[in-house]
Amino acid sequence: MHEVKTKPAPLSKRDFISNQEVRWCPGCGDYAILSQVQKIMPELGVPRENIVIISGIGCSSRFPYYINTYGFHGIHGRATALASGIKLTNPDLSVWVVTGDGDGLAIGGNHMIHLLRRNLDINILLFNNEIYGLTKGQYSPTSELGKVTKSSPFGSIDYPFNPPQLALGAAGTFIARGIDREQKHLQGLLKHAHTHTGTAFVEIYQNCLIFNNGVFSHLTEKEVKAENVLVLEHGKPMIFGKNEDKGLRLNGSHLEVIRLDGKTSHDHVLIHDETNKIQALLLSELTYLKEFPTPIGVFYHQDVETYDHMMIKQIDYAREQKGEGSIKALFHEGYTWTV
């Protein structure tokens, strides 16, 4: 070993690539997301040993094996609960949950909403491919109504969840959406989620090449995506379209699309305010509405004291009030007698 202590060299993306062979289908959207996460990790300013990635079960949940941090591949639906225990045990860790639409919203829906309401400082990446990938193609809680799959040959009769809206309803404090193919945008979102103190919920549209190919093509194909995607930016007007010729306006309590063709001025266009919950709710409503663009970016962001912080405070307070616990005193409290 070297005698002189040197400052460790800054980490690079390469330091976050594990020695395990990646086993997703070639062309799966998961690769792009993995790559963005590996890219931003060195930039977070967190020592690699303090990063933990936790997942459930699903194609997406293989994620921890491929990234060279601490990682835990749990059981189906329970990653959020597993992560909670890790975070509470060591609040200094940077804890990331990787989950799927089945893992996080079907079997793990309960733990998901409870993590959101408790607001532990954990980042959730929900890989939404609107299908069960690993079990080879059944409809999921985000599949559209009427979806024909292996388990719904006549079309599904399940209404889908609207993930950002669900997260809002569960009192989430950071709610965002990205797309596997929008790499730069996704990197920004991931970093933003990291800086949020509290539970960050990031839904990522991910293409399952094998069982649900193209469900997001209207949001990813060059020719059409500008017409269909609304990129939310805090403090900026909600404008979209190839020629930036469309915007969203508030009409009563509804949003509407307006054409910015000279007649209607930019002044009518709604300005995005991440801290406005009602506006976030209206935006989340657009998820499945065909006549509206699909918002991506940060829907909502509010700083609220975290569960982990309150827990530490409470323990400190109890120590202050009662003094550091003494086992002997505990054993001998109350009436005792000596023989």
Binding site: S18, N50, Y65, L82, S84, L88
Partner: protein
């Protein structure tokens, strides 16, 4: 009653052992009365054992059978192992309590009744056809029929209290009455009342006066010609306190964490009769204890696995239905080889079953109830005080061998209490962990030869970032590995951990004879009833012995030899024969079972009678 109140000459008699049950409506304060009597009994130096039995409904209709709450205590100058079988004294505050409990009162036993509650409406509600105070129902007992409420009212006239408050203090009257009968000092309860009702001086005064009124009243009436003194019990030298099982569990956990140099994490969801463990631990914040009330038992155990991964002594506790929910996660815990303790305070099943009643029917679930080959050590507590040792032992095994351990308790132990000889913390066995902080020779699944533990490297430790999960993995690297040979190897390795634990268990020493006619083999909370029955049989020179197992998986290695040293083996259980099946599956022995699933513990006579029957068959 005036005619009763002559000055009668009284005598004091010495007795060895007494059993009392306080029974009344949920609102009558019987649990509090019982616990006051218990503390007072500890103070006079008797050995004791208690058993509270309360309704599962929070507010069952007043006066109904479903609303009856009771508290039983056996105390004496001998070793007391159980709360007692039949009653010397039954306090029945209302006709429903009488209906439920009269059958357990000895012939000629003393019955203390609050007559004001024996109205036609009440006795009909309790299912009596006529007033039991007036027909022949009570002819075999000594009856002290007292209008407690009126006597209390007379004693507090000047305080201007509502009839409701006065009625509520009747329990103190009953307590005072019994304090007289057993020649007790009232101070401990007077201090308690003064503390509890400090802010309401009138209420405190009413309770104090009620207590004294009961005491004085007992002194004046004819039915009580004698009062009793029970000599001090011979305790092993030491300092004692009274302790409840769930409390003892939480003490054991905190002590083990401290010994191992770890912080304690508890993740769980409330369920009767396990919730008190969560309640106790959540009060221990100044020990650095982290309690996490999760959204369900699955989250409870998953957060516990997370805490174990991140380096805490991780605990979850529940009862049967919650245990069922934790099942899948326990398989994960086995696979990732992380230390944690899962506590099941058993209750009557199946399904929601008998939430507040006791049973031992989750043994199969603990030993076998998982998909795949997923061996988990199982430790069972035997008495309320033993809950401390069992919890400590479960933590020790988990930490020293890096695996989950199940601790079985039950409602009877959890809520029951007995004197606890307070251990010297410094002398508790050391607990070593497998925490590893230097990366030399690090492989996440390299197993220590002696314990088969893998290294416990927690996130935050530099240069050892590793991934773990529920997929089968290679010995050493821990990388995912589905090859046939590897799965065989890993499955055997996980089982071998238990074999190694078996080797480290202390020898099993039968109580009574080391060989002979009949061995009574039990586990868990049947300890007291079995021990009492076996002691009684030994006193009659019968060739019997008792072994109570703490370790149910793996079984101790010397058990087989002991089993083979007796002609007959009786296995009494509060289930349909689960230990019996496991024993017969593992050893070539014939055994006989005794199965009780009535929501209540064995009495010593249940066991004794069966023993005699088996011994006769022998002759």
């Amino acid at each position: 009653m005036a005619e009763d109140q002559h000055n009668i000459s009284k005598t004091t008699e010495e007795v060895e052992v007494v059993t009392i049950r306080f029974a009344g409506d949920s609102g009558d304060g019987m649990q509090l009365t019982g616990s006051q009597f218990t503390n007072n009994t500890a103070i006079v130096g008797n050995d004791l054992s208690t058993f509270p039995d309360y309704p599962s409904e929070i507010r069952a209709p007043a006066g109904s059978l479903a609303g009856v709450s009771s508290f039983q205590i056996q105390f004496g100058s001998q070793n007391i192992y159980t709360p007692g079988d039949t009653l010397d004294v039954l306090v029945a505050m209302n006709p429903a309590a009488l209906k439920v409990h009269l059958k357990d009162l000895k012939i000629n036993g003393l019955l203390l009744l609050n007559s004001v509650n024996y109205t036609p409406r009440n006795y009909k509600l309790a299912g009596w056809e006529s007033n039991p105070l007036e027909d022949k129902t009570l002819k075999d007992y000594r009856v002290a029929e007292v209008n407690m409420s009126e006597l209390v009212a007379n004693s507090v006239k000047d305080l201007n209290l509502s009839p409701k408050v006065i009625n509520r203090s009747a329990n103190m009257f009953a307590l005072g009455f019994l304090y007289y009968m057993y020649d007790r000092n009232l101070d401990s309860t007077i201090d308690f009342i003064t503390n509890k009702f400090g802010k309401y001086p009138d209420l405190a005064e009413a309770n104090r006066r009620s207590l004294k009124a009961g005491y004085n009243y007992a002194h004046t009436i004819k039915v009580i010609r004698t009062n009793y003194r029970i000599p001090k019990a011979k305790f092993k030298k030491g300092t004692y306190r009274n302790i409840m099982g769930n409390q003892a569990v939480s003490f054991g956990l905190v002590a083990a964490a401290k010994k191992a140099g770890l912080e304690l994490f508890y993740g769980g969801y409330p369920i009767t009769p396990a919730s008190d463990i969560l309640h106790y631990l959540s009060g221990f914040k100044n020990f650095g204890v982290k309690t996490f009330q999760a959204e369900d038992e699955i989250a409870g155990v998953m957060s516990t696995i997370g805490a174990a991964y991140a380096g805490d002594l991780a605990i979850t506790a529940t009862s049967g239905p919650g245990m069922a929910l934790k099942t899948e996660a326990l398989g994960l815990a086995v696979s990732v080889e992380l230390p944690m303790v899962i506590i099941n305070v058993q209750r009557g099943g199946p399904s929601t079953g008998l939430p507040t009643k006791t049973e031992q029917s989750d043994l199969f679930q603990a030993v076998l109830g998982r998909n795949g080959e997923a061996p988990i050590p199982v430790v069972a507590a035997q008495t309320p005080a033993h809950c401390f040792d069992a919890a400590y032992e479960a933590c020790r095994i988990a930490l020293e061998h890096m695996l989950p351990v199940i601790l079985l308790s039950d409602g009877y132990l959890g809520n029951g209490s007995e004197p606890w000889r307070i251990p010297d913390y410094d002398k508790l066995p050391d607990i070593t962990t497998h925490k590893k902080t230097n990366s030399e020779d690090f492989l996440p699944y390299r197993h220590d030869e002696k314990t088969l533990a893998r290294p416990w490297v927690v996130p935050g430790t530099p240069n050892m970032e590793y991934r773990v999960g529920g997929l089968e993995k290679s010995e050493g690297t821990g990388n995912v590995n589905y090859t046939p040979e590897n799965h065989q190897l890993m499955t055997e390795l996980r089982q071998r951990k238990l074999d190694i634990i078996a080797e480290s268990l202390p020898p099993v020493v039968p109580f009574g004879h080391t060989s002979g006619e009949l061995l009574v083999l039990g586990w868990g909370s049947t300890f007291g009833a079995i021990r009492t029955a076996v002691e009684n049989a030994l006193a009659k020179d019968l060739s019997v012995a008792h072994v109570q197992l703490t370790h149910l998986n793996p079984f101790p290695n010397d058990l087989e030899k002991i089993l083979n040293s007796f002609k007959k083996i009786l296995i009494p259980e509060l289930n349909m024969g689960q230990l019996q099946t496991l024993i017969q599956g593992k050893f070539v022995v014939r055994t006989e079972g005794l199965h009780k699933v009535m929501g209540v513990p064995f009495t010593q006579s249940d066991i004794y009678n069966k023993m005699i029957e088996m011994l006769k068959g022998q002759a």
